[in-house]
């Protein structure tokens, strides 16, 4: 990072400027993705598989944020589960209140029998508009407060990763501890309705799928706009050489903060849509382990490439279901191997595979090793 001779590597997929004609290709890819999500998948997949795909797409939405924050900004956030959880719980609280009907308590509160009325911090979530706003704005607000503390004091690299992970652990532990008002370890389960639509009806399940698919495409478009803006360039610059950016008169803390907050909002939206798709949100979905699993999809597909991160997230989630169905114990080994192979030997992810192979081939005659992929880590 402080090396004065770190000229931008030629042919490095993470540093290369956008070539002309790239945006036409991106538009074509976007259209193909829309076609696949809106036409092919609903026609080809059974209701059950489509429901699973909806779940994977939620993971992919988190991966879009991770691509921005980690792939582009170098912020390894191991706590996206926190924002996913905030969005998810906000939505689930509203749906539980709506399920219970006016004047009634959500079923689990009656079960534990301690409260006679809704706790004060549940009450605003009776309002659907407040809830929808909160699923995105609440995670963003939390990220903004935490991020502005942390980035301004130049806590970075592994320190930031550990802090974000501790945050995920703390939220999960807190939720488990407050069983009477949060459902504890079970979480908020058995969600039956979604803004008046009955979720047991397969037609409404399909509608939820379409909402999720549309949201994912929207987030991808938004992230692409950000990445290819001047801000996106600045973000990569901060990742690769924070001090130089500082010397140029920018405040890297603000640059990082924007990426972190946007990623948090995306995770929040993903969590909110995850709830009607799956019908449950619990601490087991937001703690340390799921938080780090959000990262692996992006890492496998290619952290710095939007398409790579999204497809990687969907692919890993799919592989998880497929492998756990066939060989329950094997998934953990496979997942461990994925982490090791993707990060140790292919840091650019599958998205960089073509480039790596090409460089190997061109490098072979001269006997030079393939150039390493500097990912610009803040040490």
């Amino acid at each position: 990072m402080t090396e004065p001779t770190s000229a931008p590597g030629k042919g490095n997929p993470l540093k290369r400027a956008v070539p002309a004609g790239r945006s036409a290709r991106a538009a074509a890819g976007f259209a193909a993705a829309a076609l696949a999500l809106f036409a092919l998948a609903p026609l080809a997949l059974s209701d059950f598989r489509l429901g699973l795909l909806a779940k994977y797409l939620c993971t992919a939405m988190v991966a879009v944020g991770i691509c921005l924050a980690w792939g582009r900004g170098g912020l390894l956030t191991l706590g996206q589960g926190v924002f996913f959880g905030l969005g998810g719980y906000a939505m689930a609280m509203h749906l539980k209140i709506a399920d219970a009907g006016p004047g009634n308590l959500p079923d689990f509160m009656q079960l534990y029998g301690t409260a006679t009325e809704l706790p004060w911090w549940w009450r605003p979530f009776a309002n659907p508009l407040f809830t929808i706003a909160a699923t995105v704005l609440l995670p963003m607000a939390v990220a903004a407060v935490l991020g502005s503390f942390v980035f301004r004091r130049r806590v970075r690299g592994a320190y930031f990763a550990i802090l974000s992970q501790a945050l995920a652990a703390a939220l999960a532990i807190w939720l488990i501890g407050q069983q009477a008002t949060t459902g504890g370890t079970n979480g908020l389960t058995d969600i039956r309705g979604f803004f008046g639509y009955d979720l047991d009806d397969p037609v409404n399940q399909r509608m939820v799928y379409f909402v999720i698919a549309a949201a994912l495409l929207l987030l991808v478009a938004l992230a692409r706009q950000l990445i290819h803006s001047r801000y996106g360039e600045l973000l990569v610059a901060v990742r690769d050489s924070e001090e130089r950016v500082r010397f140029l008169g920018y405040d890297p803390a603000n640059v990082k903060l924007v990426a972190y907050v946007v990623a948090a909002g995306m995770a929040g939206l993903a969590g909110a849509l995850f709830v009607p798709a799956v019908g449950i949100i619990s601490p087991a979905m937001i703690g340390i382990v799921p938080s780090i699993e959000f990262v692996i999809g992006a890492a496998v597909g290619g952290r710095a490439s939007l398409a790579g991160a999204v497809l990687g997230a969907i692919g890993v989630a799919w592989a998880r279901t497929a492998l756990s169905e066939e060989f329950p114990g094997a998934w953990t080994y496979f997942q461990g191997l994925l982490f090791i192979v993707a990060l140790a030997f292919l840091p650019g992810g599958l998205a960089s595979l073509a480039g790596v192979v090409k460089r190997r081939r061109t490098a072979r005659p001269t006997g030079e090793p393939a150039p390493a992929l500097p990912l610009g880590e803040a040490a």
Binding site: G74, G177, V295, I340
Partner: protein, 298 residues
């Protein structure tokens, strides 16, 4: 008064466990700037070593004593292997190393599940360590559990041994040299590669010793590493890297804070409050309590 003393003692013993775990971590993190997520599984390896030894040596006291060096070697060997296979290839990519070692930890957990089964197992504590010392008698007694005292002694011994090694031996001098300035150490004829591996061996071995200690206070299971490792990482983050002093102080402070807050609130609230305190502390000292002073900007 006895409540305060009792809580402080509980805190100190939590701190001792944290210290034992964080000690090895601070060595490996300080040495190679690598966050080793598999450290928790080295602890687990140490704990299972104790379990296996107790199965083969029936005497609980003897097996515990034997387990200390054996667990050190087992966990140390695992660490050296990990360093040789993976970590040295990821030099200068600390964040990727973090995730790669997380993958390793997943695989080790599953391995433990396949070999020893998913349910937790338990070891018998030796007779000598099952009792407690009564410090204040009477209606409101204050007692210190022997096993906790043993862990405290072990932690102190480990700190003393490690700091003497770092301070007095040629190996310690080399380790300190590499931590302070890797390039300069390299051009002075130190094989940084070998120093790295040795430091990793010692750091991971200490995790094994921590695993032996943990068998005295809790069950042994495949996920025992993950549950405790985050706290140990926080100790390192707050204590600052490359200095033992910070690790020691912060381990005990966090332990006491945890215990006192748990007493006055609940376990879950205490965890959250400790985290808030840590974020607030990092506002004041973003690089931790003690840091190596360098002129570099990073």
């Amino acid at each position: 008064m006895t409540v305060i003393l009792g809580q402080t003692f509980t805190g100190v013993s939590i701190g001792a466990v944290l210290l034992l775990i964080a000690l090895g971590l601070s060595l490996t993190f300080g040495q190679m700037n690598v966050i080793n997520m598999a450290h928790g599984e080295f602890i687990m390896a140490g704990a299972y070593t104790t379990y296996v030894l107790q199965k083969s040596v029936s005497d609980a006291g003897l097996s515990l004593l034997v387990a200390l060096p054996v667990a050190f070697l087992v966990a140390g060997a695992l660490g050296a292997l990990l360093e040789w296979l993976l970590i040295r290839r990821l030099y200068l990519r600390p964040l990727d190393t973090l995730l790669v070692t997380w993958g390793v930890s997943l695989m080790l957990q599953q391995l433990a599940r396949d070999v020893f089964g998913a349910p937790n197992v338990q070891t018998r504590a030796p007779e000598l360590l099952t009792g407690h010392i009564t410090v204040v008698g009477g209606a409101d007694p204050l007692t210190f559990a022997n096993s906790r005292l043993f862990i405290l002694t072990l932690a102190v011994a480990a700190v003393v041994a490690l700091s003497l090694t770092l301070r007095l031996t040629p190996l310690g001098r080399r380790i300190r040299g590499v931590v302070q300035n890797r390039d300069l150490a390299e051009v002075s004829g130190i094989s940084t590669e070998r120093v790295d591996r040795t430091a990793f061996f010692i750091g991971s071995g200490l995790a094994g010793v921590a695993g032996v200690a943990l068998t005295l206070v809790g069950p042994i299971g495949p996920t025992m590493g993950t549950n405790i490792i985050i706290d140990a990482f926080l100790v390192i983050v707050v204590g600052g890297i490359g200095r033992l002093r910070g690790t020691v102080i912060v381990a005990f402070v966090l332990g006491i804070m945890q215990s006192v807050l748990e007493y006055s609130t609940t376990v879950s609230v205490a965890k959250v409050l400790v985290l808030v305190a840590i974020v607030a502390f990092l506002q004041w000292r973003p690089q931790g309590l003690y840091t190596l002073r360098t002129r570099s900007l990073v």
